[in-house]
């Protein structure tokens, strides 16, 4: 009874909105697919969006909630893709190329990536910040280099995985997104999630409160690697051939960019950013011939322009959210304030304290993460406490 009551109390539409939207998308896709309205490229784009979402959500767990920077997410994806698809190829003669084989392949890809997640989680216990970041980056490059040279994974030419049935793959991907999202969100909104955020906010205090830092750091790395592994298998079955160059640290960074643009610590943000960035990338890489002819562009000019635009947008967004220069502008454009105006309330009446409160809830959550860091730094510098004895 208590359970039910608590569930009702906890149930807030805003917590579940992403699930509703996702289920809605799946239903719409089912209808469209049944009527044959989806083109071949639509399938591949949607699948790509799906596995990008998984990557972004799982990376956000590490960056946004554990507060550790990982630059090796593509490495986990690489492990999952190679091992999962390899097992798919092995199983295919036995179990056929149906959905069962795909699921077994995904699980094995996920598990093998999770094992690597555990391995990289161990240094994460000793290293922090930039040192851990370079360690994860190094890990990704090691994985890539090793897979490139192992003979039974196809070497530099890549592992031939064969395309999976487009329709089934799309739905498996979308369902996987839903499951991963639910698991990650459930974890975050529980005592375990609180422990993880506590580690991010103040590791020393978290330890003093009895939070098992070792366990939670490993848990987060393993879980996030598992999800990346799943998405690696989906990727492999979507593109038909896996080549190690596709998993370089540039790809890890691209995933990180999705997380940052969506707002660090915001899962919905990650989903939206993954969708937009993937869609834009696909569009610019293969622009409709009409547009290309009209502008008389070379094959990859749009892709280059994309890189530049992408970079500029990235820099501007970070500046806008962080630079003190733009603090005034941020205040003016705050969404909450616009709402307040809309409701004909005078925003000037908000007391100073309330205004601060407003800002914290509306701003991209990244700023909150960032503020902690800054505070920690300042604390270190100006800490008046001297545990060591001063000179006599």
């Amino acid at each position: 009874m208590k359970t039910l009551k608590y569930f009702k109390k906890q149930f807030a539409v805003k917590h579940f909105i992403s699930y509703f939207v996702l289920i809605g998308v799946i239903l719409v896709m089912a209808v469209l697919s049944a009527t044959g309205a989806l083109s071949r490229s639509a399938y591949s784009t949607l699948t790509k969006i799906g596995y990008s979402m998984i990557l972004a959500v799982s990376l956000n767990l590490v960056v946004g909630f554990l507060g550790e920077l990982s630059l090796g997410h593509a490495g986990f994806m690489c492990v999952g893709a190679y091992i999962g698809c390899f097992i798919f190829n092995l199983l295919e003669p036995v179990t056929g190329s149906g959905i069962l084989t795909l699921i077994i392949a995904m699980l094995s890809g996920g598990v093998s990536a999770a094992i690597f997640g555990f391995i990289i989680g161990v240094p994460a216990l000793r290293l922090r910040g930039d040192y851990l970041a370079i360690c994860t980056l190094a890990f990704g490059e090691i994985v890539r280099n090793v897979f490139k040279n192992l003979p039974f994974f196809g070497g530099a030419k890549g592992l031939n995985t064969g395309l999976f049935d487009r329709t089934t793959l799309l739905f498996v991907t979308l369902v996987t997104v839903l499951v991963v999202l639910a698991i990650v969100q459930n974890l975050i909104r529980s005592k375990h999630g609180r422990a993880i955020t506590a580690i991010r906010d103040n590791e020393i205090a978290a330890r003093a409160m009895g939070v098992n830092v070792t366990y939670y750091k490993l848990l987060v790395f393993v879980l996030s690697a598992f999800a990346a592994g799943l998405s690696g298998v989906l990727y492999g079955k979507a593109v038909g051939i896996i080549r190690q160059d596709n998993f370089s640290y540039n790809y890890s960074i691209e995933i990180l960019v999705m997380v940052v643009l969506g707002g660090i610590g915001s899962m919905n943000g990650s989903l939206i950013a993954a969708t937009i960035i993937t869609a834009v990338t696909v569009f610019l890489q293969n622009p409709p011939p009409a547009i290309r002819d009209a502008l008389n562009l070379g094959d990859d000019t749009l892709a280059i322009v994309k890189t530049i635009a992408y970079a500029v947008i990235l820099i501007l967004i970070i500046m806008y959210n962080n630079a003190p220069v733009f603090a005034g502008l941020r205040e003016k454009l705050s969404i909450k304030k616009l709402f307040a105006k809309f409701k004909k309330k005078d925003p000037g009446n908000i007391s100073a304290d309330e205004a601060k409160w407003d800002r914290i809830t509306t701003k991209i959550e990244m700023d909150e993460v960032l503020r902690v860091d800054v505070k920690k730094r300042e604390g270190e510098l100006t800490d008046p406490d001297k545990p060591e004895r001063g000179a006599k």
Partner: protein, 291 residues
């Protein structure tokens, strides 16, 4: 012997780039991910000037000027507004700058390779040692020699000049240094200028190994970053040690056929192993977190 010289020359290149990373990290407390792309810009500057004017010294001079100006400009426009922001925000901006430089280069020069090899055209020196004939290219010797001069110069600069002292002060405690009347922004700008100045030479030397293209800087950039971390990021001797160590490892691995294809994996494994043993790198300074 040849391997040792080649290793040293590659190590010197890495060390020069690593110095840029490590100084910026030590003083501005940020990872300048775009550092590798400054090398790329330098290489293109050499390529363009050399192919139009045909004079190597002018080409080098132009590259040095362009790199230094570029480094300072990036710092002023992209990083300074974020001085108080978190390391992650700055890191992502740096990634943005890196993409931007690569994109622009690709738009202007295309994705193809543009070989510039006036260093290689200097030929090889042959001499015999212990009865065996040894051929060492002039470019390797030049790299090691000039690299050593630059590094010694930098060490002396940081140790004995007023600016160098100010740099060390800012790196210890920016707040306290500012209270002592040091203009931290100016010092950080100088640091970027020096880092990019060294990067220009690195681009010259690296050109003798590979043709220039828009991603010319990313591999040496990452390797040098690794070198800086191995040596202990923030430490100048550490960057030199790490660079030379990594250069030697890479050259030695490449010269043994059985493991040559795993060179990258070995290099990065060395990084991880060193960090596991000493989480602050070989020569890094430990900072005690107060409770």
């Amino acid at each position: 012997m040849v391997t040792v010289i080649d290793g040293l020359s590659l190590g010197a290149i890495y060390a020069l780039i690593a110095l840029g990373y490590t100084m910026v990290y030590g003083i501005a407390k940020m990872l300048n991910f775009a550092h590798g792309d400054i090398i790329m810009v330098g290489a293109f500057a050499i390529f363009v000037t050399f192919s139009t004017l045909g004079h190597p010294l002018i080409a080098i001079l132009v590259a040095v000027v362009i790199c230094t100006v570029l480094g300072v400009t990036i710092e002023r426009l992209a990083y300074r507004p974020l001085r108080t922001a978190s390391p992650l925000a700055v890191l992502i901006t740096a990634i943005g700058v890196s993409y931007l430089l690569q994109g622009i280069a690709q738009l202007i020069f295309g994705a193809g390779n543009n070989p510039v090899n006036f260093l290689a055209s200097l030929g090889v020196v042959s001499f015999s040692l212990f009865g065996s004939q040894i051929n060492v290219s002039w470019s390797s010797i030049l790299t090691v020699g000039l690299g050593a001069i630059l590094m010694v110069g930098l060490t002396l600069f940081v140790k004995y000049t007023r600016t160098g002292r100010a740099m060390r002060a800012v790196s210890e405690d920016r707040g306290a240094a500012t209270l002592q009347g040091i203009d931290a922004n100016k010092i950080i700008m100088i640091t970027f200028a020096i880092g990019s100045f060294l990067a220009a030479f690195a681009s010259l030397f690296y050109l003798s190994k590979t043709p220039v293209n828009p991603t010319f800087g990313s591999m040496p950039g990452i390797k040098a970053f690794t070198a800086a971390v191995i040596g202990g990021i923030g430490s100048i001797p550490g960057a030199m040690l790490g660079g030379i160590l990594l250069g030697m490892i890479e050259t030695i691995c490449l010269s043994i056929p059985a493991i040559s294809s795993y060179t990258t994996a070995i290099e990065f494994s060395v990084l991880i192993i060193i960090l596991m043993i000493r989480p602050i790198g070989l020569l890094g300074k430990k900072r005690r977190v107060k409770v």
